[in-house]
Symmetry: C2
Subunit: 148 residues, 2 copies
Amino acid sequence: MIEPHPSGGYILEELAIGMAAEKRLTVTEDRIEQFAEASDDFNPVHMDEAFASKTAYRGRIAHGLLSASFGSAVVGTILPGAGAIYLSQTLAFHRPVRVGDIVVTRMTITAIDELSARVVLRGEAFVGDELVMDGDATVRVPRRRRKI
Amino acid sequence: MIEPHPSGGYILEELAIGMAAEKRLTVTEDRIEQFAEASDDFNPVHMDEAFASKTAYRGRIAHGLLSASFGSAVVGTILPGAGAIYLSQTLAFHRPVRVGDIVVTRMTITAIDELSARVVLRGEAFVGDELVMDGDATVRVPRRRRKI
């Protein structure tokens, strides 16, 4: 697994297909509360156990984009890190994530377009052995500055 | 524009293509700080004006998934509202969103599959007249309960 670059971010010339980085984060009550405040998404399925227990989820679940944000954190702070410009993202939610779950989010470089400086990272999030979410992030990465 | 359903959420039989709902939210320092705490994404391009002023963005920008979460808030709290199950999401980021920007996020139903109870909502986020982000959300919606 890749560690953050000492400068804060990797440049295009330092990246290769197969490079991967991950983050392990626990979904706490605090994270759900902070995400709700940030997004203004107080959907009771996330906030209200009594309500959520009567839904198809049978209990409170984390906001889908909260789990997704862990992948964005990997992209923005480890691989490629600061300097990468987020262009697009796909997300598929396979299983609910609950308070107390430990989410391991791994981002792996699957494509590099040298011409456009675009890099695709495949994201996968696991709780234990189960894939809870996956998707692709496309970012533009800075190039090495030319010497004058 | 659709208002939240008195029960908290719309069921499949109440939905039609073209129904739309929107939310208007200001990107404040507080929201960015809360999103960073929730996601553990302290990328300096979001948090550090001195760093961000030297990047391609020429100043701090909001996390892309923070703006995206405003669309998720519309889906989860207005249309279809509580009870909808998030299956997938696509996102394309067209322009940076900055502290103080007022983001208007509109979600419009573009497809309904009666058989699978799946609904596609087209999401568009604007700052002033400019489209800053768009993408599609796919959700599964509860059906009317059959009378026994």
